[in-house]
């Protein structure tokens, strides 16, 4: 299991378009990917767009991303980079 924390910098939070990109990007990976905002007690399967959006992640929220599965070593750094680039 791999995990990283990321503080959302985008002023709109995790809004629809980049969330859609994220879902597309990881649709094919074998690992389970979850996003959680521990401070708010919310979490979602990152492959499910509406579930991710319903978390209503805002700028400044710390999200904890967990990647668990056989391809976690290759996938985790890619996802972390994606967060840095898009959120």
């Amino acid at each position: 299991m791999k995990t990283f924390d990321y503080t959302v910098k985008d002023e709109l939070g995790i809004h629809a378009r980049p969330a859609g990109l994220l879902v597309k990007q990881i649709a094919g990976v074998r690992s389970n990917v979850t996003i959680a905002v521990k401070a708010k007690g919310t979490s979602a399967d990152a492959k499910r767009l509406m579930a991710v959006m319903k978390m209503a992640v805002k700028q400044g929220d710390v999200v904890t991303v967990t990647i668990d599965g056989e391809d976690e070593d290759t996938i985790a750094p890619q996802i972390e980079q994606f967060f840095k680039d898009n959120f």
Binding site: R17, A51, N86
Partner: protein, 537 residues
């Protein structure tokens, strides 16, 4: 007379007949006998909906703009959402027919979004209802039957993006919705279309309203149905005076922008993407003084290809006929989040690795863009403008590189047009050596936003500094005077493309300084032309 209130989203007064816009018929619960067949029907409807949305995306991007088009894109994403599709499929497997399953799951997801404590997410409920309605319509073969035979006011619970796109826009006098928000689709559309509108209105929507007379006051946020004579007279007067100001500007359409004493100035438009061309034409701009290139690079995962850039530039040049189009090369820095550029975060991006500095360092990016512009130049009247210049050496390097690109294209047998090369004057350094720079280029365009920020050492994003900020600071006025004088001494033209260009209190001053061009938002052109024509300078 019925009177009530709503939240105004665009100013103006509208008087007309009511058209009540209602949703498709209710979807009744029905069972299906062949589950596999029903699942296939759902799959087919989903594919059809995806096709429709992609066509709608193109239409919206071309007719209304990128912001509304992005909403359609979000709907396409929802259509593929696993919670949505798996929920529907599960209901079909339990024996419900496809239309009813879509309707129920859509309603459940929409109310979950509507309950969120976040305005942006709340507004997404309309998107989910919209895709669900679309699927239901495809599955039941129902018609979308709303027509307006004469101009009128649309009264609706709320309008979804695909409903608003399919409306006959020439006939809409106002929107009045019971739901919605200042950021809802209807509100955005009202602003683009410049029509008075109310959202969150306290109105009982009933088919009996159809055809009755309504007044919408977008200044006060009020409405009147079946107005009495006194109200009608008052509101008609209000509508008249609001209309007179706007109509008064119409007399300046198509006229040359020339002052009483014969000073001519060209009024150009600043735009951010090819889809803004519509507003350039509506606004009666005499050319484009600033076509930003950033839109071509933002919101994607990799660099645009030369052909993509070429097509975008060509479409603008062709749409403008022979009118001048000043294309600014890429002006991007660490403050814009463009992952694939691989820019390191900076302490101070405004003074950092950005704009022309990136282009002169990473020549492959620059070459692709310049090749695209030179190729497009064969289709219209193109000029190129380079941002963030501070030295004569930079300008010479750029010119040498441009000649190289141009020669390369000619060697390949590709045609190019005549292209003027100019620079943005937006650093104090460039302003101070504008006499030296003028000898090197065909024109100057003063970027007053950055020039002011750099000269006054004030970050415009920092509200605390508002008290110290003076847009008319004498230092800026002296720079502006000096830049125009140096340009004219060298026999080149000078323009202003920052916000200050549209400052009506400075028009006289700019004319006196001798500026040849002012470039502003397309909707400001007529107002500015009126000011020029009435100027005594």
């Amino acid at each position: 007379m019925i009177a009530g209130r709503g939240r105004p989203v665009y100013e103006g007064v509208a008087i007309g007949r009511i058209y009540v816009h209602t949703k498709n018929q209710a979807v009744a619960e029905r069972k299906c006998s062949d589950i596999e067949k029903e699942l296939r029907r759902f799959q087919n409807a989903k594919e059809k909906a995806a096709e429709e949305l992609s066509a709608l995306y193109e239409k919206t991007a071309a007719e209304i703009g990128e912001e509304q088009a992005a909403i359609i894109e979000v709907q396409s994403l929802f259509l593929d959402d696993l919670d949505y599709t798996e929920g529907i499929e599960a209901m079909i497997r339990s024996g419900s027919d496809a239309a009813f399953s879509v309707h129920e799951i859509g309603a459940a997801q929409a109310s979950a979004f509507a309950a969120l404590d976040d305005d942006y997410m709340k507004a997404r409920a309309a998107d989910i209802r919209d895709i669900s309605d679309r699927l239901v319509r495809i599955l039941t073969g129902a018609e979308q039957g709303f027509r307006m035979d004469e101009p009128g006011i649309i009264v609706a619970e709320d309008l979804t993006p695909s409903e608003t796109v399919s409306l006959d826009k020439d006939r809409i006098l106002a929107f009045v919705t019971r739901q919605g928000s200042s950021n809802s689709h209807t509100a955005i559309l009202a602003r683009v279309m410049n029509i008075p509108s109310l959202v969150l209105t306290d109105i009982d929507i009933d088919p009996s309203l159809n055809g009755r007379t309504m007044i919408v006051d977008g200044f006060a946020g009020t409405y009147f149905i079946d107005p009495d004579e006194k109200t009608m007279a008052e509101m008609a007067a209000k509508k008249k005076s609001a209309g007179e100001y706007k109509a008064g500007l119409e007399e300046y359409r198509g006229r040359e922008s020339i002052s009483a004493s014969g000073r001519k100035v060209k009024l150009f438009a600043n735009i951010g993407s090819p889809s803004d061309i519509k507003y350039v034409i509506d606004g009666d701009a005499e050319g484009i003084g600033l076509l930003r290139s950033e839109f071509l690079y933002l919101g994607r995962d990799s660099f645009p290809t030369e052909d993509e850039l070429f097509e975008a530039y060509r479409s603008v040049l062709e749409a403008m006929g022979g009118k001048k189009v000043v294309i600014r090369t890429l002006d991007i820095g660490a403050d814009k989040k463009v992952g694939y550029f691989g820019l390191a975060p900076e302490e101070n991006p405004a003074l950092g690795y950005r704009g022309i500095r990136i282009c002169l360092t990473q020549k492959d990016i620059f070459r692709t863009q310049l090749r695209a512009i030179y190729r497009a130049s064969a289709y219209g009247n193109a000029s190129i403008m380079f941002p963030m210049i501070i030295s004569v050496k930079e300008v010479r390097d750029i010119k040498a590189f441009c000649s190289e690109v141009e020669k390369e294209l000619h060697d390949e047998g590709t045609a190019t047009g005549r292209v003027e090369l100019g620079i943005m004057i937006e650093t104090p350094a460039a302003a101070l050596i504008s006499d030296m720079l003028a000898a090197e280029v065909d024109f100057f365009s003063v970027g007053t936003n950055d020039l002011t920020q750099y000269t006054l050492a004030i970050d415009r994003q920092n509200e605390k500094l508002d008290a110290f900020y003076d847009a008319h600071h004498p230092a800026i006025m002296r720079f502006l005077e000096m830049i125009a004088a140096n340009a004219h001494k060298a026999g080149i033209w000078a323009g202003i493309c920052g916000e200050l260009a549209g400052d009506l209190s400075l028009t006289d001053e700019f004319l006196r300084m001798g500026y040849d061009e002012l470039s502003v938002a397309p909707s400001r052109i007529l107002e500015l032309r009126k000011n020029v024509i009435s100027s005594e300078v």
